[in-house]
């Protein structure tokens, strides 16, 4: 069995759990279930919980595969979960994405309790968006519920979900970026300090965050004598209900931000827009990517021109309001092959966690089969001063094919960017752009966008 360790790879995100771990072999993702988890695994099925959760699309389905694939002697079973087309992290989610992930975690816990099990983790990283819906991906998160035992994941739930959602709703939506620093969720004393005073008038936030934070400080390091028999099932249900009610009451309504109403203030005509959309759709049909990344997607208009059951599109934008609108529309239309995410391309998600390997960087989750970079190059080359050659190199690294729009200096949007700065961008011309990108790409198509000064290209990495 040990010889299997050649040509395989244990994934660094799941080292913490003694119940099992993820590994990949030949591009396929597997999860080893260890013998220590045998009883719980059997109970997950015998109780009917697995079937109930999978039917409600709350838990990722899996199939059991040949045990010879096991990575170590401690294996009880090897399972192959349904593939998630793109792994995303809570600091890349909009408000409603994090809220849905929280509500899903609580509904799973409530269903588990009914069938004699309980979640031992409430990590936001265990939730992924699968076919448009927040879904638990860690099959080994359950343990047998013993009446009297408190919820071991209570603190983690408050840190991963409640505290960031409360801050986003009541203080500033950008505070979800704290999750990038605090990998195990927001410290509750910090959340308590940052939240406005009025949050104390909300019973759920008063107790689960403010009083909770004070209790952590007050009882820090004290030994707890009895851990069993202290909390009735009724009390547990009351706790879950209250967390859910508190979360459901939190709301964030995007206001017109820098980009929120971008398409209303854009400088090109309807005919230019339609021309551009037609070209993008036609080229996608030619490339047939299984995964496409739309960078600077705004509310996802072009992502939708590309997304088909065969093409999964990750729709990135820097503006939380645009991502929120995109997600709500996706949910409303029940689109399964689209994932809106928050991303600042000038400072993309880094790899974080233990040994900097727990959560992958933006770039290492690629390359995508196709990258869309529409109306974004001027922000990178002019606002952020990135030389064109470096842009070409980066795009070649993250995508195999590239659909890119060149926005020249004569364009009114670029004129606005240049109004407040010295024009040091001498090679920012169609010729300069093409010569830089030819270093890394073959240009297959070049089409001037109708009724505009812009040019759109289809390129393929060399």
């Amino acid at each position: 069995m040990m010889t299997n360790q050649l040509n395989s790879r244990q994934l660094p995100a799941s080292f913490r759990d003694p119940s099992g771990f993820l590994f990949s072999r030949g591009g396929v993702l597997y999860r080893q279930v260890n013998r220590v988890y045998e009883q719980e695994y059997i109970r997950l099925f015998e109780s009917g919980l697995y079937e109930k959760l999978v039917r409600a699309r709350l838990l990722i389905p899996h199939v059991e595969v040949d045990q010879a694939l096991a990575e170590s002697e401690s294996a009880y079973k090897v399972i192959q979960p349904e593939r998630v087309p793109f792994i995303s992290y809570p600091y890349e989610w909009s408000f409603s994405q994090l809220k849905d992930a929280a509500v899903v975690t609580l509904s799973i816990q409530r269903r588990a309790l009914k069938l004699g099990m309980s979640l031992k983790d409430a990590s936001a990283y265990n939730i992924q968006f699968v076919r448009g819906k927040a879904t638990l991906i860690d099959t080994l998160s359950f343990e047998t519920y013993k009446e009297g035992q408190p919820w071991v994941a209570y603190r983690q739930f408050c840190q991963h979900f409640l505290a960031p959602l409360a801050l986003m709703a009541l203080k500033d939506v950008r505070l979800n970026q704290l999750l990038r620093v605090y990998i195990d969720g927001l410290p509750l004393d910090l959340a308590s300090e940052l939240l406005p005073w009025k949050s104390r008038l909300n019973f759920g936030l008063l107790t689960h965050i403010h009083v909770h934070a004070s209790a952590q400080k007050r009882y820090a390091g004290e030994e707890i004598k009895s851990r069993g028999g202290a909390m009735s099932k009724q009390a547990m249900i009351g706790l879950i209900d209250n967390l859910e009610a508190t979360i459901k009451k939190l709301a964030w309504i995007p206001k017109g931000t820098e980009w929120g109403n971008y398409y209303d203030i854009t400088n090109y005509s309807d005919s230019a827009f339609e021309h551009k959309r037609g070209l993008v759709a036609e080229w996608t049909n030619r490339v047939k990517p299984s995964v496409a990344w739309d960078l600077g997607a705004n509310n996802g208009v072009f992502s939708r021109a590309v997304s088909t059951p065969e093409t999964f599109v990750v729709s990135f934008d820097i503006d939380p309001a645009a991502v929120e609108k995109n997600y709500l529309q996706m949910k409303n239309e029940k689109t399964e092959s689209l994932l809106p995410l928050l991303l600042d391309l000038t400072n993309p998600s880094p790899s974080i966690g233990w040994a900097n390997r727990e959560r992958e960087s933006f770039g290492s989750r690629g390359p995508a089969d196709m990258v869309l970079a529409l109306a974004i190059i001027h922000h990178l080359a002019i606002s952020n001063n990135v030389p064109l050659l470096q842009l070409a190199e980066y795009f070649a690294k993250i995508g195999k094919c590239l659909v890119i729009e060149f926005v020249p200096k004569s364009d009114s949007q670029v004129k606005k960017l240049l109004a407040s700065r010295e024009d040091v961008f001498h090679n920012y011309t169609v010729e300069g752009f093409e010569s830089a990108f030819r270093e890394k790409f073959i240009i297959h198509e070049k089409v001037p966008v109708r009724e505009s000064k812009r040019v759109i290209y289809l390129m393929e990495g060399k």
Binding site: R110, P150, Q216, G221, M231, A235
Partner: protein, 58 residues
């Protein structure tokens, strides 16, 4: 060099105790709601269907 004692203080104990306290309180609410449902039942008012039996979550 000064070593802050903070990293050795586990916030887990406080979380544990406060959970017991909050849950005990909220558990009472669940009991009250359940009895209220029963009382309403005597007068022929049906309780809301259990949401967990739905297929969807949102």
């Amino acid at each position: 060099m000064h070593f802050a004692p903070l990293p050795y203080l586990d916030p887990g104990s406080g979380s544990f105790l406060i959970q017991l306290l909050i849950a005990a309180l909220l558990g009472l609410g669940v009991a009250v709601r359940a009895s209220w449902g029963k009382i309403k039942g005597w007068f022929g008012i049906k309780a809301k269907a259990d949401e967990d039996d739905d297929e969807s979550t949102e």
